[in-house]
Amino acid sequence: MQIAKTLDCKGQCCPEPILNIKAAMGEVKSGDIVEMCATDPGSVNDMASWAKRTGNTIVEQKQEGNVFTFYVKKK
């Protein structure tokens, strides 16, 4: 998977990860993948809702320890 942009939202709490992933989407092209990692446990549900609403796709996500990583494909 080719990553167009990496976004570190570790340590941030609601709503910052969502605000930042939205901002990051503005910096990449359609079809690009943004890798975002966060430590806010709420970001798991929030990211799913965000993706549903905005039409972007979480192509993969994983958890390592307390770090959640999302791979978001821009619509």
């Binding site: 340590g11 709490c13 709503p15 609403r53």
Partner: protein, 163 residues
Amino acid sequence: MSEERPKRISIIAVHGTLDMAYPPLILASTAVAMDMEACIFFTFYGLEIIKKGANLQVPPLANPAMPKPIPGLPIGVPNIIGVLPGMTAMATGMMKGWMAKANVMPIDKMLDTCLKTGVRMIGCQMTMDVMGVKKEDLIDGIEIGGAGTYLDYAADADINLSF
């Protein structure tokens, strides 16, 4: 009705305390990040949130939900203590400490985010007249309007909230 219209949220902010300033700003900025349109109508004490150099406080009175000042201690601050001079500053200091520890964005940064991302921010004209607040007392980027302005927006909103 067009299906393509973005979802829309309207929020009324009525309170001018630190704790009550957060929900409208968080929801409005998140709504925009979720491709919705958002508007906050700041009225009555809510106008305080958008004043230049606002220093919002947390009221220590009549708030049993306030976390205990000393973790593990079974009692919070009794209301009778809350009336003493300096208790508002103390409650505010405690809240700001918790917020900073949890890495929550400060209010001025939240306001900045809302304005930059296109949240429509309306200051209530009538409240301004009543409280003697001038447009230049408010932060830049605030629109001035009344109940009609808000209702015109809210009539086409999918979500309407008041805090």
